[in-house]
């Protein structure tokens, strides 16, 4: 066995953290919390070089959030209100994160407004003021295909949504960014700020309480576009951003 991942809750991972190489990594993160942001180590992968049989340690790093703090301390280890709280907190963080970085950005009007709206939607979803009655017939149409396990795909028809989706597509093409856009990125947040995005975000929060939207992608081209909202099961995946 030449490659093993140790979750940070395991004694092995904690022992590796306390090794001289682990300590350097911890110091690096802990002593520069302001410029680096508050980070946590989620686990360690140990693997062996074939040539010289020496060991490599890959320390995996994530942003500290209420979510993974709960995971680490075990306080959120069961489904239920804790998960809801954690997801709300994640949405709230995404909203405030993108919102605060807006000050230094110079976004075109429609796009900038969409980002603000997206942040507002997530803030409202997380405060519980934007939840739907999902049994209402209005939401039981063929317009979108709900597969809560993986994703929600919705073809874009509204002209404002089209503009935003096109802007996102051109950005993805020009900077080679991942086509899956995190809510912590302006592009992902702008897509939440579309009619489709705000509806799906509210629906997920209303109907499936331990799942959350992790990323959004734009599928298709200028003629026919769809937004694909990637849904993650909180317990199965945990946060990955």
């Amino acid at each position: 066995m030449n490659r093993v991942y140790f979750n940070i809750n395991s004694p092995e991972a904690q022992a590796l953290l306390s090794s001289p190489n682990g300590q350097g990594t911890v110091w690096f993160l802990a002593q520069h919390k302001n410029p680096l942001g508050w980070k946590i180590i989620t686990g360690v992968t140990v693997f062996m070089n074939r040539e010289d049989t020496s060991w490599n340690f890959l320390f995996r790093i994530a942003n500290h959030t209420a979510t993974n703090h709960q995971q680490a301390t075990g306080s959120g280890s069961k489904r239920g209100p804790k998960y809801e709280d954690a997801i709300k907190e994640m949405y709230r963080l995404a909203a405030s994160d993108v919102h605060s970085s807006l000050a230094v950005r110079d976004e075109p009007d429609v796009f900038g407004d969409a980002i603000k709206l997206g942040a507002e939607v997530l803030t409202n979803v997380s405060s519980g003021s934007l939840l739907y009655d999902t049994h209402h017939p209005q939401y039981m149409t063929d317009e979108y295909d709900f597969d809560f396990a993986t994703n929600v795909t919705w073809s874009v028809s509204e002209s404002r949504s089209k503009l935003i989706a096109q802007e996102v597509l051109s950005r993805v093409a020009s900077n080679g960014a991942d086509s899956k856009l995190s809510l912590f990125k302006a592009e992902g947040m702008a897509l939440i700020g579309t009619y489709e995005g705000s509806t799906v975000a509210s629906l997920i929060a209303s109907a499936v309480r331990d799942r959350f939207i992790s990323d959004v992608s734009v599928v298709g081209g200028s003629d026919s576009m769809a937004l694909c909202f990637h849904i993650q099961d909180f317990k199965a995946s945990g946060p990955d951003w």
Binding site: S18, G24, L58
Partner: protein, 112 residues
């Protein structure tokens, strides 16, 4: 590390042959070949140790300064670190810990 004047004390420290060879990439820092001045200083003749080793000597501090420089003009780069890879670990304590962890994983089959 070569003999280096330390800005804070004005003192020039003796070389220790310590070195930190890192590879900087977006999201990951790879520590490829690292020997701390505290360790290598003791192999010098005469030994360089204790207060005679330059205070700015920790991997974490040296790496941070270069990471900061690497990330300048790149928005979200500094905060974007998602992994630190310590490659070809040579420290005996780290090696022993890894071997014990891997042996234990083998016994309990907690592969990931």
């Amino acid at each position: 590390m070569a003999s280096t004047p330390d800005g804070s004390t004005g003192r020039t420290y003796q070389p220790t042959a310590g070195k930190y060879m890192n590879i900087y990439n977006p999201e990951i820092i790879i520590a490829q070949d690292i020997y701390s001045p505290d360790h290598t200083g003791t192999r010098k003749t005469p030994e360089v140790k204790g207060q005679d080793v330059i205070p700015f000597k920790q991997w974490s501090d040296v790496t941070f300064v270069i990471w900061q420089d690497y990330c300048k003009n790149q928005p979200n780069c500094m905060q974007g670190v998602r992994g630190i890879l310590q490659m070809s670990v040579v420290n005996p304590n780290s090696k022993t810990t890894a071997e014990q962890a891997m042996t234990k994983a083998g016994r309990s089959s907690t592969t990931g």
